[in-house]
Amino acid sequence: MQNKKVRILLAKIGLDDHQRSLLVLSKGFRDAGFEVINLGHFQTPETVVASAIAEDVNAIGLSFHTLTYMGWVVDVCELLEKKKAKNIAVFVGGTVPEVDDKELKKLGVKGCYRPGALMKDMVEEIKKMVLGVNV
């Protein structure tokens, strides 16, 4: 019997020292039936991508609350490309302004979520994105 689950890796990249968002997201995704690997904060693009590949996850969720998040997302997407792991869908959340959505989509980011985004919307989109990509 098929027993497929969505595996998602969550992380904060860079020096931003807030973890609360990751804990809330971990619980939310778990309650939606996902298997969540939470790397915590103080990660680099290298540790995120290496872990995502090692754990064979379907999606990476990055949480940012700084002005300077864009470069990190660029690095993660480039690294995924280099390691031939573009099948892993990247989602970005936090204080990411709407004006950046277009740029992020061009990079290949599959979804951007702001404060106020509903858990159930995120879950639906990620499920669709991920199970659509990997089946």
């Binding site: 497929k4 689950k5 595996r7 778990r30 969540v36 939470n38 290496a50």
Partner: protein
Amino acid sequence: MQDKGLSLLVEGLLSGDNRSLTRLISLVEDDSPLLPELFRHIYPIKGHAHTIGICGPPGTGKSSLIDGLIALLRERGLNLGVISIDPSSPYSGGAVLGDRIRMQRHFLDESVLIRSMATRGHIGGLSHATRGAVRLMDASGKDVILIETVGVGQTEVEIAEIADTTVLVLTPGLGDQIQVLKAGIMEIGDIFVVNKADQPGAGKLVAEIDIMLGLNPNHENMQAWIPSVVKTEAINQKGLEELWTAVESHLNHLKNNGILDEKRKALLVWETVELLSSRIRDRVLEKILDGGSMDDLKEKICKMNMDPYSVVSNILGSSGLKI
């Protein structure tokens, strides 16, 4: 091999590629229809991995211990696989796999594959895919496989079937652990670790374990393994060398006394019976559901309003199965 994708993955696995390994583990977790073909090819390949199970109550520092062991074994140039298991929620089916976060310093080391797995409803302390994952890791050439299990209780003893060596981790100050853990888990420990040994009560705990082991009937048997007790302070990297010496000593004991082969045979039988039971259960349930859902069946049971034995006779009778 018929499936091209699968054969590429197996090729990768046998050449030591961790990426292929982790993807094949996913296939096992997802109960892919390719599994029979996969294991027909994998089974004959005998690696040399020493599998060690690490169990114990939450809060004893299992993850820190494993993190320290990984560092130690990497210094010795060994290639490692780590399986970290966490429970799936019985309500949502999801899980937070929270062990990896404690092994940060090894994320970029390509000779260590850390693979987090959820129990996905399986009872016994492991995931149903653990055995398959261990076989795959062995086939890919890992020297050591560490398995971190879910908590501890009377029923999480499955690890002893799968691991060559089972290590039970305790810490001082967690209450009257020995009394509580009399049966089950205390019987399966090949090595006992008292972690956070700098805390008060460590000496007392070691003594309690010694006494309990002294009551072990196997003392009479010259061939039997007497479990050793090791003190560690995983966070300070203390006691890990001693632990590893005890582990290697246990493996030698298994090899020299022919126990390893016996164990592996027993494991194959156990694994096969598990698989057989599981397949039979699935097939029978499929037949009984007859295209409907579990919810339909539950509703039907409620409507019947009879005692469980009569319900079962009724259902099996009308299924057409001769049981």
